[in-house]
Amino acid sequence: MRICRTSSKAVGAVGAVKAVKAVKAVGFWWLTAGPAVAAATAQTLTQDEALRLAFPPPATIERRTAFLTEEQLGRAKALAGPDVDVTSRVVTYYVGHSCGPSAPCGRSGRPLGVAYFERHRVRTLNEVLMFVVSPEGRITRVDILEFLEPPEYRASPRWLGQLLGRGLDGELSLKGAVVNLTGATLTSRAITRASRRVLALHQVIAPLKTPSP
């Protein structure tokens, strides 16, 4: 009887040790297998991957390039605002088209949105973003493709989320409704400017009113 009790205690102890080990293992896995390291540090997506996230199959993606006139460039600058640089007259963008049993595919498909890619300097290094603009001219998606500054300066998904649904107006600015990123003001400023630049170019190019080349 005594032996049995000892044995059951021993079994219980072994069980407890196993349970502790299991908890430790799960805890370690949870801590280390959180959101991917890449998502917290440098490059996270290629252009192709980002486009596929924005316009998942069976949608089709059409690549286009707009060549702005001087007048159009000036208009984009005016729309973007005084502290936003708009310098390039060659703007490549991607139009997503719906494709399915009830909709034709390709260029004749219903436009889902337009994706623009933006590279700009944060502090001394660059980041690359993808902005997706809805047919109504509002930001529907922002993805960070590359971020080369130290990760503590990187904008969180929550911070990026405040840009969603916004159009080109006075609220889309750090003086408006966009909240600064504590400890990373240069990042928040750079992204807000980029979003204004993209929407200004979107208005000038009017890609969903312009027929495909």
Binding site: G34, T46, T92, E146, R158, P213
Partner: protein, 440 residues
């Protein structure tokens, strides 16, 4: 009639020939247009690649070094050096008289207070080095210094957990880790974050950090403060004015006593940071001191804790912080430091401030910011002193700062404020400050 037929036939032939020649001319044009289109497409792709970078535009399916597409990305991601920096110049104009109308004896000062270079290096997506090298007061030959503010290695296992080691900024308060002058209001740092949370406070150690949901944490094990100072220590020791002198600044630091420090911030609401931190460790560094009661091991256990809040919303900039420090064996520490009477180290130190600013140019289209602000601060570094010692009323201070910050761009700030300095000894000297700062 025949002539008419011939004429008709001739006309038809001419039309046919014209049409044919038109078609023949059109065919090469179409080919030419297609060729030009292809060339333009190639050029725009090159431009796009130059703009966005080869790494981004590269297709995800190009496996390298035998790795799968996703795993091979690390080999495409550019690595290397990251540079940055900031600096500030501070002008201080002191009143000629103190609160009690006695001559203050203070002289105005213009100081190249700080020039900092950030240097970072990314070995890979997981391993990073980050550092800050600081030059203070213009010249090391004239009372200035060159210091390592921080220099650490990060090993990021995931966003939830990273390991950090090296010279670390102690994660306390609002200023110590985020001290670039253009980012905060005020020409000088709040006094609470100079004497109770002694920023810029760095020590050597190791720790963990990460984000779990809306919570950000850091927990470090570092060398403890040195409350006594002197000898081989770089510290000068605690004083009646606070614990600032206990910093060892990672310079041949005594590590007879280790300390732990942890911080937790909630960032679940955009623009809001609310959290707290605590530091606990013995500051005696294994010294013994001979008091009237005999030889005593000087532990001088030091607990510092603080709670903070920062909120920015639509031009509004609010900040508040409360900090308290307690030091055990303060009487023995006074003996070790030969402090008597009102020069005693405080057994308890308390400080807090509240600050508000608003960008009055918010509704304009200009990118400039003009932020008038006010800060109210109370600090008492001798809130409680050990029996047999007295508190110096000059250490019970109240400061009201009124000023404005002009930021023509976010990286540059010109700040000016007037600080009404009051203390219970009525020896406060108010001052007018101007600060020019930049960061990049």
């Amino acid at each position: 009639m025949r002539l008419i037929r011939w004429r008709r036939a001739g006309a038809a032939l001419a039309v046919t020939a014209w049409c044919t020649s038109g078609l023949m001319a059109q065919e090469p044009d179409t080919t030419e247009i297609a060729r030009l289109k292809a060339q333009i497409d190639a050029i725009t792709r090159e431009i796009e690649e130059l703009k966005l970078g080869r790494e981004v535009v590269a297709r995800a399916d190009t496996a390298q070094y035998g790795l799968g597409p996703a795993a091979s990305k690390v080999y495409r991601a550019p690595e290397g050096v990251s540079l940055g920096g900031y600096g500030e110049v501070l002008y201080e104009h002191f009143r000629e008289v103190r609160e009690d109308n006695q001559l203050s004896g203070r002289t105005d000062q213009l100081d190249a207070l700080r020039l900092i270079a950030y240097l970072g290096y990314k070995f890979s997506d997981k391993f990073l080095f980050n550092s800050e090298i600081e030059f203070e007061h213009g010249s090391t030959g004239r009372g200035g210094e060159a210091s390592i503010e921080f220099a650490y290695l990060d090993y990021r296992l995931s966003s939830r957990l990273g390991l950090r080691g090296g010279v670390l900024l102690v994660p306390m308060g609002l200023i110590n880790e985020l001290h670039e002058p253009p980012t905060f209001l005020g020409t000088t740092r709040p006094l609470t974050e100079q004497v109770i949370v002694p920023s810029t406070w760095r020590e050597s150690g190791v720790g963990v950090f990460g984000d779990v949901g809306d919570l950000a944490y850091r927990v470090y094990l570092i060398n403890g403060l040195d409350a006594v100072g002197g000898g081989s220590s770089a510290a000068s020791g605690f004083s009646g004015g606070g614990i600032r002198g206990g910093r060892q600044n990672a310079a041949r630091a005594l590590v007879e006593e280790l300390a732990g420090v942890g911080r937790l911030d909630y960032t679940g609401v955009l623009g809001l940071t609310v959290g707290g931190s605590a530091y606990l460790g013995n500051s005696g560094q294994n010294r013994t001191v001979t008091t009237a009661g005999g030889s005593v091991d000087l532990g001088a256990r030091t607990l510092i804790w603080e709670g903070h809040l920062a909120y920015q919303w639509r031009g509004l900039d609010l900040r508040g912080l409360f900090a308290m420090a307690t030091v055990d064996q303060a009487a023995a520490l006074n003996v070790a430091r030969s402090l008597t009477g009102a020069a005693s180290v405080g057994e308890r130190m308390v400080g807090w401030y509240a600050q508000a600013g608003y960008d009055v140019l918010r509704s304009t289209r200009t990118g400039h910011q003009l932020v008038p602000y006010v800060r109210y601060e109370r600090v008492n570094t001798q809130d409680r002193v050990p029996a047999g010692f007295a508190a110096n009323p000059a250490n019970d201070r109240r400061i009201v700062s009124l000023g404005a910050a002009w930021r023509p761009i976010g990286n540059i700030a010109l700040k000016a404020d007037y600080q009404f300095q009051h203390n219970e000894a009525r020896t406060g000297v108010s001052q007018l400050n101007a600060n020019l700062s930049y960061l990049f």
